[in-house]
């Protein structure tokens, strides 16, 4: 019994940070309709800024809590800066661009944090006055845990009072429902939005700062909390603060008990609980259906049209060039070096990855923020088969698309029921769970709980965790640079062609019909969910294929291939290229792979990339391929002349 109480209290205390971050995310989304992906970064900044302040003024109890509060306010102000400089300009932009823009902010904050505080994990000092432990039923409980337990309900009551009892709160609640009407009643929403960004970001900062004594500060905090916060928000119900509160408590408690049963199982447990909740309540515990949330939709997108002859000719020329490149390499090695072939292989891998993502994103309207799960997941499936079953290359290779498809089939079941930002958040959460599975070597931990471990009792290395899996090469016939080049080019061009065929087949038309008018599609008897699910699995298969090509070109695989950053790379490629064109992802992948190559030699390349992304979102909202629709593009006849109305 005592153990149970202790675990319960520990769980409640670990819910605090999760609740603070998730409620901030929910509040910002409620009013601005923007899912702030940089929210995890604000949490991280809260921890780092709090750490520095605590070092300076936190030697007394009052000093410590003042430092925590200042950190929260400082992060709130950073949120305000982001709102004024960036969000204000993109409130009316398509969802995807908003998400991508806030992702740019993540990159910038990562590098700024690295630059200011360095790469070492910081160990937080204990809170003065709360260093001891109290004994509850004979078990010691750290005093600071009790303080954390008190924080969530305090903040909850404070938020309730703010929203219920102040004019500002009333306006915010009204704007959450119908911001246009609020404006028409004479309220300057600009400051309302700015205020909301302040509040939401400050809550994230507070979450980061209060957990310093327990977790300190490190550079992985941003993505780790982001996935957890998404899960909390999805389970609690988007926009519901109370829902976030209960969900955070649920996960906090679950986490403590889960760890006792199965170490490292946090994220997997979250996944299981989320799955159960979503099966019974797709909108979360206290959420409401998305249709009631009045998510504004942009103007209807242009229909997909067959490419113009000029564009087709370009594609043909590119294919021909790809075919002769190795021959040029053999004849004139000084013109086309080995490096070029390697770069082309890499570009083709990402072209395939981006095209597979585009397959569900453009025509299907499903913006997946976690596609690296199928890329890396597929690659790991193949690699494990080679490592543990000695499977030959020819067999193991195909395990990747199969693995990608199966994983997408599993995750997709939950995701395709949702749309818009829910879909995006859920895909991201799943991807982070898949990443944790590999990174923490879950299979090894599981085997250990069944008593299977090495002679020292340490878990067996299955996925290899951080070290990844190495020495996985194609069969000799395929392993020369040139033969692998042809394999990559051949398979990816074939895959692109198949996807294109699918999109122009009835299947593709159905998908698009579902994207543009889900209700009408449902009314004429199309089982949209089935179609979306199937499309998701197909996309997973092609993404897995890209993963296989990647794996055998590198000879090794690391958890980084499943990282959120990798998912964003793919998104970025699609966005750069323009979502509404089939050639878009191809341009985008080529451009970004090249850019990455260019930037990665620089230190602080993330900062540069982040700034580039933000600039692109602000300047080129149609993507690179959207260039075809601009005046210079039209002059080159890459797009149809504008159809003017009568």
């Amino acid at each position: 019994m005592a153990d149970f109480i202790v675990s319960l209290l520990t769980g409640l205390s670990s819910a605090a940070a999760m609740f603070l971050v998730a409620s901030g995310l929910s509040i910002i989304f409620g009013v601005t309709r923007i899912v702030n992906f940089a929210h995890g970064s604000f949490y991280m900044l809260g921890a780092y800024i709090g750490y520095t302040l605590v070092q300076t003024i936190g030697s007394t109890g009052i000093g410590f809590w003042t430092a925590v509060l200042i950190a929260a306010v400082a992060v709130g102000l950073i949120g305000v800066v982001m709102e004024i400089l960036l969000l204000r300009r993109i409130y009316k932009a398509p969802e995807l661009f908003q998400l991508i823009a806030t992702f740019g902010v993540i990159l910038v904050i990562q590098d700024v944090t690295l630059w200011v505080w360095g790469s070492e994990d910081l160990v937080g000092p204990q809170a003065p006055g709360l260093k001891g432990a109290v004994s509850i039923l004979g078990k010691p409980i750290p005093e600071y845990d009790l303080a954390l337990i008190a924080i969530s309900p305090l903040v909850l009551v404070g938020l309730w009072a703010l929203f219920k009892l102040t004019r500002w709160g009333t306006l915010v609640r009204a704007a959450t429902q119908d911001r246009q009407m609020v404006a028409a009643l004479g309220v300057n929403q600009r400051w309302l939005f700015t205020g909301v960004l302040f509040l939401g970001s400050a809550l994230a900062g507070l979450g980061g700062a209060v957990q310093i004594p327990k977790g300190g500060a490190d550079l992985l905090m941003d993505f780790n909390i982001l996935a957890a916060a998404f899960v909390v928000v999805v389970v609690g119900g988007m926009g519901s603060i109370l829902g976030a509160f209960w969900a955070a408590l649920l996960f906090g408690i679950l986490q403590t008990f889960g760890i006792q049963i199965l170490p490292n199982s946090t994220l997997v447990l979250m996944f299981l609980v989320m799955a159960v909740v979503l099966i019974f309540r797709p909108w979360g515990l206290l959420g409401m259906p998305e249709s009631l949330l009045q998510i504004p939709s942009g103007p209807p997108e242009q229909p997909l049209r067959p490419a113009l002859p000029r564009v087709r000719a370009l594609a043909g020329a590119a294919c021909a060039l790809l075919l002769v490149l190795p021959i040029v390499h053999l004849v004139f090695p000084e013109v086309v070096g080995t490096f070029t072939l390697v770069l082309v292989i890499e570009i083709m891998v990402f072209v395939l990855f981006a095209a597979a993502l585009h397959f569900i994103m453009g025509p299907g309207g499903m913006v997946s923020f976690g596609h690296a799960a199928y890329f890396g997941g597929g690659a790991y499936a193949a690699a494990l088969l080679v490592k543990f079953a000695d499977a030959p290359f020819e067999l193991a290779f195909w395990a990747a698309p199969l693995g990608g498809a199966l994983l997408a089939f599993l995750f997709g079941w939950f995701c395709v029921r949702l749309s818009g930002v829910y879909f995006a958040m859920l895909t991201l959460a799943f991807a982070q769970i898949a990443w944790a599975f590999v990174f923490q070597d879950m299979p090894g931990s599981v085997l250990k709980t069944f008593g299977i471990a090495d002679e020292f009792g340490t878990p067996l290395k299955i996925t290899g965790g951080d070290d990844g899996l190495n020495d996985i090469w194609p069969s000799p016939w395929a392993s020369t640079r040139i033969s692998y080049y042809y394999i990559t080019v051949g398979l990816s061009v074939a895959a692109l062609w198949i996807m294109r065929r699918l999109l122009y087949a009835p299947f593709g038309y159905t998908l698009r019909a579902g994207r543009d008018s889900p209700l009408r599609a449902a009314a004429i008897g199309i089982d949209l969910t089935r179609h979306r699910w199937l499309a998701f699995a197909i996309s997973g298969a092609f993404t897995g294929l890209a993963g296989a090509l990647f794996l055998f070109s590198k000879g090794s695989i690391f958890p980084t291939t499943l990282e959120i950053a990798r998912s964003f790379d793919a998104l970025l490629m699609v966005m750069l290229g323009g979502v509404q064109s089939l050639f878009g992802p191809i341009f985008g992948a080529a451009a970004l792979t090249w850019l990455n190559d260019l930037f990665s030699v620089l230190s602080y390349w993330r900062f540069l990339l982040g700034v580039t992304i933000i600039a692109l979102v602000l300047l080129l909202p149609q993507g690179l391929a959207g260039f075809a629709d601009t005046r210079p593009g039209r002059r080159l006849r890459l797009a149809r002349p504008e159809e003017t109305g009568a």
């Binding site: 009333t170 009204a174 009407m181 009643l185």
Partner: protein, 241 residues
Amino acid sequence: MTGAAEARVLELTGVDTFYGRAQILSDVSLEVRRSEVVALLGRNGAGKSTTIKSIIGLVRPAKGEIAFEGKPIQGLEPFQISRLGLGYVPEDRRVFTGLTVAENLEVGRQPRRENAPEWTPDKLFALFPNLAEMSDRLGGLMSGGEQQMLTIARTLMGNPTTMLLDEPSEGLAPVIVEQVAKTILDLKAHGLSILLSEQNLHLSTLVSDRAYIIEKGRIRYEGSMAELAENEEIRAAYLMV
């Protein structure tokens, strides 16, 4: 207030409005004078709501001028236009369903204005007695008629000098329509100028001084309400379904 020009509170001149590439309003010109109720009549889809939204700034006209109290307002943001004293009562009511009656009124509250009657919740409850009994009820739990009263009251909390009423009779029972008519006349008596978009000829005849008929985004008729009530031909051409 001597000349007609000075008495003009709201004036649209040659307004064109588009949704995407579709032109909805073509060369719409109309005016509302002080303490006057002007009806804007037209069938479904004629462009009544679009005209009103163009005035309040919820859609941007591509061409033309809109002047309020002699000052151009096209291009301003809705909140700026509203703060000049132009109150907007939307069609389909748009009450904040998650807020109580009192909170709905609070959202509409703006500082008092010199040339307009000042409204408080108490005064509004006197004007709409049935709202008084439910000031703690959620907007979403009210009947259509109650919601309509609430939207009008909410807009009045901004102490407007001029009101834009978009189809206040829509979906209401005849008795409630009578009540709306009485309210409009009350407001007129308070000195407010009103532009009323309507399909309900009965209501418009009861309250309006002048009328415009809009069809396919063009003004087809302009004249006094009494004249229009007499003119069977025009009504048959533009208003009968």
